[in-house]
């Protein structure tokens, strides 16, 4: 297959066969040879572009360092992320119910683990938020969001009965009371 010779005016072509001369690639610099003229897409007649010229416009990718608003917005997005998850978590909680089986447990574990993970990588998040002017506020919001998330997980555990909050949960650890008196006897033999 003959490929269009790239963006440059030189046509790169690979030939599968046919020609007497086999070559891997060739750069055609002579104008006379218009062997590949038909291949040119949108080629305007005989206009030959210089090497490296592209007809398509190249998007402007330079960072606009001056656009503070955008940075702020992005940072707020990060900070509010955990809070936004709470309604979703609530819904999952409601759906999974209070029975103890593998799926609700997995859900609860995930719900509990994610905020904890986030709290552990707090410093990394702070680095992200470094560029923002409201860094501390955003950090606080992020923290609160995660704490709320874990509180929700704990609440779920509580409603599922996984927390040792009742006296019955500590029953197995009560030692038998020590006997103060020694007593014995029976029917007169």
């Amino acid at each position: 297959m003959a490929s269009p010779g790239g963006q440059g005016g030189g046509a790169l072509s690979t030939r599968g066969g046919g020609g007497a001369k086999r070559m891997k690639w060739a750069l055609e610099l002579s104008l006379g040879n218009t062997r590949s003229r038909g291949d040119r897409q949108g080629g305007q007649g005989d206009v030959v572009y210089p090497i490296g010229y592209s007809e398509k416009p190249v998007p402007d990718t330079s960072i606009q360092e001056t656009d503070k608003n955008l940075v702020e917005k992005r940072c707020w997005d990060v900070a509010l992320g955990p809070l936004k998850q709470i309604p979703m978590n609530l819904f999952i909680m409601y759906m999974s119910g209070n029975t103890i089986s593998i799926f609700p447990i997995m859900m609860v574990c995930m719900m509990a683990w994610r905020p904890i993970q986030a709290l552990m990588s707090m410093s990394a998040t702070f680095k992200l938020l470094e560029s923002s002017s409201q860094q501390w506020l955003q950090g606080l919001v992020y923290l609160i969001g995660n704490l709320l998330g874990s509180a929700l997980a704990i609440y779920k555990c509580q409603s599922m009965g996984l927390l040792p909050t009742h006296s019955s949960d500590w029953l197995a650890f009560i030692d038998p009371p020590q006997r103060m008196e020694i007593m014995g006897g029976g029917m007169v033999l």
Binding site: S168, L171, I174, I182, M183, G184, M187
Partner: protein, 977 residues
């Protein structure tokens, strides 16, 4: 709602614990030993040459056939206990055994080969006197039964009555014996004490009185003990006052001829009542004319009646036992004579001549810990060379049956005393020598680092050696055929197993002697101690103790367990004479049965009760306190150390005494000078109700959980008072409208009555179990005529008053009491609860049923919190909805089809495994098994698939290795590309 309950019930049924065994587990963890009791009548079955049976009827009302090769039972029939099933006579004719049962109530005929009943007929009322087989022309066709006023003749083939005749003058004459010589006549012999003998002769054919005469015999009072028919119808009697033989020819009915023993050159031991031993080999013929006369405890004479003349054939002195045996036409006399202290010699003598037969000596080695020979049963047989060979069964005083073969080989022994177990304990086996060595290493005082290291190395080396020798033995045994590998249990190879499942059962058996015994439930004249290996049922040791007061009470205690190497374990048996109140202590080693070298203290004062304290002396023996009738206390062992400890502890040692005759319960406190002080007393008026039983808690019981979890996840704490006593009373009024059963829960330290309940219109016998915080008891409801269970549970409430210590003296709040009753569809014989090491496993009740089953009923069914209306919370709590009837499921029988006759007691002991409880049921039989109330949660199952698991593991391991290698190769290839 009903559907819900149904669902719930289904769940409970499906998830409820099931104790049944699988078919291939039968006999794996359990064993049963069947006994018959003390033999009263025994006959060798001789109607077939190759027969190897001996038919026995025993004092336990058991009729059985024993295999003479092995001593095992061919079959056994257990009749009612008491006089109703009492076997009065056993007559063996051919393959039929005729029994008179229940003081002449029934006449039964059994087929000996398979033990099937041929026929049974009800006899007319009247006190049984005697029975004999009646034959005519060498053909035994009838059996004659003599009662106080009547004689009847029955066909042997179908039991039908041929004739029945009233005896003449039965008001004055005491008819005692019946005799038939095979000539178509039946002789009934009666006596008017100190006056004359009355003889009535009946015709066999129609019961017509052929002759009737009386002969003067002023000296005679009892025919059965002093007379015998010898030879051609010669009634021979011996009189101990005139020391002479009297003879009366029953055919010619002349005067009685007196023959003083001195004229025969015989002398009776002073104070001895001489007796006669005769034999009638064939009921259709006359008895032999040879007979034994016993002149002293160890003196017999073989006499012959020859044309009215008495001839002395041979004098046997010393001779302990004699017996006749017949084979074919030959009759021989077997005489047992003492040889030395530990052995007896048994010899055969020709009955006709009194000559000793050659090569017939048999040595009977007496067990030094056994009793003296009491009865001798001999089976004679003709050898190929026409000489007489014989086998013998010797019954000794301790109810041991020993089967002997020439020249003294003991084929088997049966310890029939084990049919009468009074009390038992289970003791841990000791560690093996090497294990003990290791244990001992840490017990000793440290003496330098280097020597400790050396010691450690040496003991490790010993362990290694033991292990290698064990492996070698395994390898060596594996090559031998399986039948040759013996698994004999001896004292040497007894050692504790990994999980402490094998223990030593120490059993105390009572040996009743009917003579001089009053009508009392505790009437023993001697006892025998047994040590039985719980795994196999092998008797490891036995110890017979004679000269015990005839009316004794026993209490067996384990003073030192095997845990204190090198001190030997120690058991103490308290034997109290109920008549004098004096007690003795028998201290022994429960593993070897040897009497301990420790001399027990002499107890000059009558003893009321004993008390085993958890205190130990410096040798780790628990202290036994003995309370005498002055309420003074003596300690055993009573070293200085012990007395000092007692002084320190005195203020916290209490004991209680229950006097059921006066209805008095009293509590005492120990003072430092070992005197006591009465601190409380409760009197239950004995004219209204009497105290039947008192149950405290078992001292080795542990309760793991201090409370119960409610549906709302709060805790209801148990009232675990270790000093609580359950006292059961029964009303003295037995009228069914007014009788009642009362239960009293009382604190043994303070005397405080915790709870009292009365069940009206009920009566005993009451079976009661007291454990943890509950009491379960069973009684008969006369109103509804059924057996009922009642359960009482005690709770402290939602809060613990004091969670660290329990003191009865500081308990301001009364516990909450819950009670429920249930209907049980069967009567019960005994009741016990399972017991485990730590008390984590749920409890079951073991119920011995009269049918011979042992039922393991989950305690869950006897729970007073079972709700009538099911709620969310009760379901959360796993409570079964209340239903008045308790079910009996067949899979709850822990002994499946191994019936245990007349269960009297069940003993439970914890094993080293929390899930497992060892159970021993005893009665006529002994049965040992293990139960798992919560299934075997701590052990892999028997059929656990080790192969599958290990092969899967290996497969996964190799798969991981291979895939790892493959992954490496692939990575490498990719890197090259």
């Amino acid at each position: 709602m009903a559907k819900l309950i149904l669902q719930w019930l289904k769940f409970v049924v499906l998830c409820g614990t099931v104790g049944a065994v699988f078919e291939d587990q039968v006999g794996k963890f359990d064993w049963r030993q069947q006994y018959v009791g003390k033999v009263r009548f025994a006959h060798f079955d001789t109607h077939v040459q190759s027969s190897k049976k001996v038919v026995v009827a025993t004092e336990k009302n058991v009729f059985a056939a024993l295999n003479t090769r092995t001593g095992e039972l061919f079959w056994r029939h257990v009749d009612k206990t008491g006089s109703e099933g009492n076997i009065d006579a056993l007559l063996l004719q051919g393959a039929d055994a005729v029994l008179v049962v229940g003081n002449g109530r029934l006449l039964r005929s059994w087929e000996v080969n398979i033990g099937g009943l041929n026929w049974e007929i009800l006899l007319d009322s009247g006190s049984f006197q005697s029975a004999c087989l009646v034959g005519q022309q060498d053909n035994v066709k009838y059996v004659a039964v003599l009662k106080k006023t009547v004689i009847s003749l029955h066909y042997l083939s179908n039991g039908h009555q041929k004739w029945i005749e009233n005896l003449p003058d039965s008001e004055t004459v005491d008819y005692q014996a019946v005799y038939s010589g095979g000539n178509g006549e039946v002789y009934v012999l009666g006596v008017v004490p100190h006056s004359h003998i009355a003889v009535v002769v009946y015709s066999v054919d129609d019961g017509e009185i052929l002759k009737q005469f009386s002969v003067e015999a002023a000296w005679l009072s009892n025919i059965q003990t002093s007379c015998a028919v010898v030879g051609k119808g010669m009634l021979t009697c011996v009189d101990s006052t005139t020391l002479s033989l009297y003879m009366l020819d029953l055919h010619t009915q002349l005067q009685m001829t007196q023959l003083p023993l001195q004229t025969l050159g015989l002398e009776v031991d002073p104070g001895f009542h001489p007796t006669l031993v005769s034999t009638q080999p064939n009921a259709a013929r006359q008895p032999l004319s040879e007979f034994f006369l016993q002149l002293g405890p160890e003196h017999y004479v073989l006499l012959q009646l020859n044309n009215g003349q008495i001839v002395t054939l041979r004098d046997f002195k010393p001779a302990m036992l004699v017996s006749f045996a017949t084979t074919g036409e030959k009759t021989v006399a077997a005489v047992m004579s003492p040889k030395n202290k530990t052995a007896c010699g048994l010899n055969l003598f020709s009955a006709d001549t009194g000559r000793r037969l050659l090569d017939t000596t048999l040595i009977f080695n007496m067990d030094p810990y056994g009793g003296k020979p009491e009865t001798l049963y001999v089976q004679a047989f003709l050898k190929k060379d026409d000489s007489v060979g014989y086998r013998a069964i010797v019954q000794t005083e301790d109810h041991t049956l020993t089967f002997l073969q020439q020249p003294g080989r003991v084929m088997w022994t049966r310890e029939e005393a084990l049919s009468d177990v009074v009390t038992m304990e289970m003791v841990d086996l000791p560690l093996t020598g090497t294990q003990a060595e290791l244990e001992g290493e840490f017990g000793k005082k440290a003496d330098g680092l280097m020597s400790m290291v050396l010691k450690r190395l040496s003991s490790q080396f010993i362990l290694l050696q033991a292990w290698v020798s064990h492996l070698w033995k395994l390898f060596y045994d594996a090559r031998k055929p399986r039948s040759q590998v013996k698994n004999d249990v001896t004292i040497e190879n007894l050692s504790r197993d990994e999980f402490n499942l094998q223990k030593m059962m120490v059993m105390v058996t009572a040996i009743r002697k009917p003579v001089n015994c009053r009508l009392h439930s505790f009437c023993f004249s001697s006892f025998k101690l047994f040590g039985i290996d719980s795994k196999t049922g092998t008797i490891v040791w036995k110890h017979y103790l004679d000269n015990i007061p005839s009316n004794a009470a026993f209490k067996l205690m384990v003073q030192r367990t095997t845990a204190h190497f090198p001190h030997p374990p120690q058991c103490t048996l308290l034997i109290k004479d109920k008549d004098t109140g004096l007690a003795t202590l028998h201290v022994f080693n429960p593993i070897f049965g040897k009497k301990s070298h420790i001399t027990p203290p002499a107890l000059p004062q009558p003893i009321l009760q004993s008390l085993l304290l958890p205190l130990m002396d410096q040798d780790y023996a628990k202290v036994l306190l003995l309370v005498d009738d002055q309420y003074k206390v003596s300690a055993f062992p009573s070293t200085k150390n012990v007395l000092q400890q007692l002084q320190e502890m005195a203020s916290s040692i209490f004991f209680y005494l229950v006097d059921s005759s006066q209805g008095r319960l009293s509590g005492y406190r120990l003072r430092t000078d070992l005197s006591t002080e009465l601190i409380w007393e409760v009197v239950i008026p004995p004219e209204i109700q009497r105290i039947v039983s008192v149950k405290g808690k078992r001292p080795n019981e542990h309760v793991h959980s201090q409370g119960r979890v409610m549906g709302d996840r709060s805790v209801l704490y148990k009232y675990l008072n270790p000093n609580l006593l359950a006292i059961v009373t029964e009303s003295t009024d037995s009228h069914q409208e007014r009788s009642f059963v009362g239960i009293l829960l009382i604190d043994g330290v303070t005397g405080r009555i915790i709870h009292e309940a009365v069940q009206r219109k009920t009566k005993g016998p009451v079976h009661v179990v007291h454990s943890e915080n509950w009491v379960v008891y069973e009684y008969w409801s006369t109103k509804s005529r059924r057996n009922e269970f009642s359960v009482i549970e005690l709770y402290e409430g939602m809060e613990l008053y004091n969670s660290t210590v329990f003191s009865s003296l500081d308990r301001p709040h009364a516990p909450q009491v819950l009670q429920q009753s249930y209907i049980f569809p069967s009567a019960i014989s005994t009741l016990e609860a399972t017991l485990t090491e730590k008390g984590i496993t749920s409890r079951h009740l073991l119920i011995g049923l009269p049918s011979g089953g042992i039922l393991s009923l989950p305690k869950m069914f006897l729970d007073p919190r079972r709700p009538e209306i099911v709620t969310e919370q009760s379901r959360e709590e796993n409570l079964i909805p209340y239903a008045p009837e308790l079910p009996i499921r067949t899979e709850w029988y822990i002994n499946y089809n191994q019936t245990i006759s007349r269960v009297r007691g069940i003993y439970t002991a914890p094993s080293g495994l929390e899930s497992t409880c060892l159970v021993v049921a005893y009665g006529l039989d002994i049965y040992q098994t293990r139960v798992y109330p919560s299934k075997q949660f701590d052990v892999l199952k028997d059929d656990y698939d080790y192969m599958l698991i290990s092969s899967v593991l290996f497969a996964l391991f190799f798969a991981t290795m291979i895939s790892k290698r493959l992954a490496e190769v692939k990575l490498l290839n990719r890197a090259w590309r």
